[in-house]
Amino acid sequence: MSELVRMEAIDKSFPGVHALKSVNFDLHSGEVHALMGENGAGKSTLMKVLSGVYEPDSGRVFVDGQEVKLPTPKAAQDLGIGIIHQELALMRDLTVAQNIWIGREPRLSFGRIDEAKLNADAAAIFASMHIRMDPRTPVEGLTIARQQMVEIAKALSYRSRVLIMDEPTAALNDAEIAELFAIIRRLKAEGVGIIYISHKMDEIKQISDRVTVMRDGAYVGTVVADETPISKIISMMVGRELKDEAVTIPDLSRAETALEVIDVSRGKELKNISFSLKKGEILGFAGLMGAGRTELARAIFGAEPIDSGEIRVHGRPVRINSPAEAVRAGIGYLSEDRKHYGLALGMDVRANIAMASLRRHSDAIGRIDEAALAKIAKDYIAKLAIRTPSDRQELRLLSGGNQQKVVIAKWLLRDCDILIFDEPTRGIDVGAKAEIYRLLNELAAQGKAIIVISSELPEVLRLSHRIAVMCEGRLTGILPGGADQEKIMALATERNGKTAA
């Protein structure tokens, strides 16, 4: 195992933020080196330095022992450094294959593109990943999870010697993660060095050889994964011990029903879905990628029309044709795709938190009560530990996890009776996750009805009072809280009555 990359005393500041404080990092060939840290610790920034997106203010980068300059992404690529960015950077109007090979299209004469080869090559990569994906699908229609797959395929296509994966599994579920890990092990065997960033602690144990921890932009230390308990890594990250609370399922037998979904169908995506949700209950939704959980949530929320079926809120049937009507009926929905459906990235933290609640914080002529909003924003920044220089920072300058916290704050502030959280902890660090779980339990205790959609089974199990499982647009079953994983997986793969392997 030879040294591939060494970064020495990397320093980088943004206006108002000292993002990297003299950070060291190194990578050997054939190893998986996990990079850990809380949201905003500086992980992505460090990797952007290594992949030529940012130039550091000071510090040196060595590749194969030679000092190198990385002024552009191209320079990094040429040195064999590939990256899967945390914020998906795909061209929505191009197809999957066109995205993968952008900049490296196989050419024929006259600058023509060999489209057949392009598609075949992309298909080959997906085949090696054991994923079914038509290379000619436009990226636009893909779910976040599938877009992430495309990013992974694209990174693999570079055949890099150094592969940076910035939260590649944030939107994936267990089956797909297992597939990704198989790929990672294969690459590792080929001598590729992999830098792996994730907030999912269990993955670190499974895949990584060494772990480097960062905190507040500073280097904390590097440890060998096998020899270090998770709790140690966590305390390195957060600077204190975290204790995990167990689920306590409240007695809801006397609780009122908050939401009833009766026989809802929509095209091929949703087939005759019925369930109900009580006040004070947290209903988890499990399922594989594309099971239709997001579709269902969007249908309930009025973001997408339903073909048939009925939705009742507090026993009264409601017609919901738009999100505005849903919110009026007391339903809130936190989207899984924060960038496209959750945030106004060009606006500041305060404005985003207030987005759904402006009418409540303005007077008769529409004047916004900025002072009140400032106080509220500061409260949430403290409560959710949002790392930002101020509540007036533009959202696009926040780290991914901190952006996610802002979306959560938006819905917490809106204070709906029924809240649907679609992948609420995507990209959120362990400490904050625990905080959010606590918040959700608190909300439920206050009598809110909550749906949590999550691709992380442990999260579903950790939170849910009941667990609904979907497969291919059907609700295949509802299990009691704390049900075992096998049963959930069985329902999640129950294709048209038959249980698949």
Partner: protein, 325 residues
């Protein structure tokens, strides 16, 4: 330049920076010609900014939502025409004429807004259609003849009188006063109110706003309606300056107004922009036009120089901003 800096306010240094191109131009012209920096000429420049400035303020709102409005020029004319109909043909009193101008503008803006927000027609097409329809309607209503306001005493003072001149010895024309009031109100709306917040939010990420439970259609229509009403005020100003409603006027004014907005730093892709920037943009344009004329530059060279300076001014502005961050 996010929502919070959208007002006429903002921090002092930034304001200074944004002004720089304008100041350079003014100093340059002042040095080049003794006739340029004189009260009467400065007032002429301000007066020349008033109509375009008001239009630009209106279209700034729409551009911040990520839209565009090509109909502002002909809408302005149509509002002037309808005012003529009410005041001259029907002989109504002046306040009703003012109401007609603003009301006609708001109504047409409402229609454009409906086309864009409800029928999902791209703003470019919806307002291109409106531009043509309104252009035709102005000609039809008037029978292609101008309507004069000779029977409405005081009509010309709306733009040409000087209230300020009666108080202090600076004959700032009322048209300029109107411009500053309109700009002030628009900046206040953008910076302080719910409507303004949604204007930015729509331009920043419309789908995210919709999924926040906001009735985006309603707010978008409201913004177009407001912008239309502002065009109505521009219609009033131009009618007052010309003491007539000229039905054939208006085409091409949209480009000039949009140019002022973009020179002022508002992004055509929406989500960011300031009224102050738009005012400066409009002033840059009229200082340029006036200055080159006062220097008696040959007309064909005037266009060349104007084009070049617009590019340079925006480039310089950008370098400054990049330098800052």
């Amino acid at each position: 330049m996010s929502a919070r800096e959208s007002g006429l306010g903002g921090n002092a240094q930034q304001k200074l920076l944004a002004f720089a191109s304008l100041i350079v131009l003014v100093i340059g012209f002042s040095l080049a010609s003794p006739n340029f920096f004189q009260v009467s000429n400065i007032m002429a420049i301000l007066q020349a900014t008033s109509v375009n400035g008001v239009l630009a303020v209106g279209v700034t709102l729409i551009i911040i939502t990520g839209g565009i409005d090509l109909s502002i020029g002909t809408l302005m004319t149509f509002c002037a025409v309808m005012t003529g109909v009410v005041l001259t043909w029907l002989g109504m009193p002046l306040p009703l004429g003012v109401l007609t101008a603003v009301g006609t503008g708001a109504l047409c803006g409402f229609v454009s807004g409906g086309l864009v927000a409800r029928m999902k027609i791209p703003p470019f097409i919806a307002t291109l259609g409106m531009m043509l329809v309104l252009k035709g309607l102005s000609l039809i209503v008037t029978g292609t003849k101008p309507i004069y306001f000779n029977d409405t005493p005081g009509f010309t003072t709306i733009a040409q009188g000087s209230l300020i001149g009666q108080i202090i010895p600076l004959p700032v024309p009322n048209g300029v006063l109107v411009l500053f009031i309109v700009a002030g109100v628009a900046a206040w709306i953008l910076g302080r109110t719910v409507l303004g917040r949604y204007t930015f939010a729509l331009g920043s990420n419309e789908e995210a706003v919709r999924l926040s439970g906001v009735n985006t259609e309603f707010w978008k229509i409201a913004i177009y309606t407001l912008a239309g009403a502002i065009c109505g005020i521009a219609g009033l100003l131009i009618a007052s300056r010309l003491n007539s409603a000229q039905p054939a006027l208006g085409l091409g004014y949209e480009l000039e107004a949009i140019a002022a907005v973009v020179i002022g730093g508002t992004s055509l892709s929406g989500g960011r922009g300031t009224i102050l920037g738009t005012l400066i943009g409009a002033l840059i344009m009229s200082v340029l036009t006036n200055g080159l004329r006062v220097l008696s530059v040959a007309p064909e060279w005037q266009t060349v120089v104007t084009g070049a300076i617009i590019i340079v001014a925006v480039y310089a502005d950008q370098m400054r901003r990049r330098g800052r961050s």
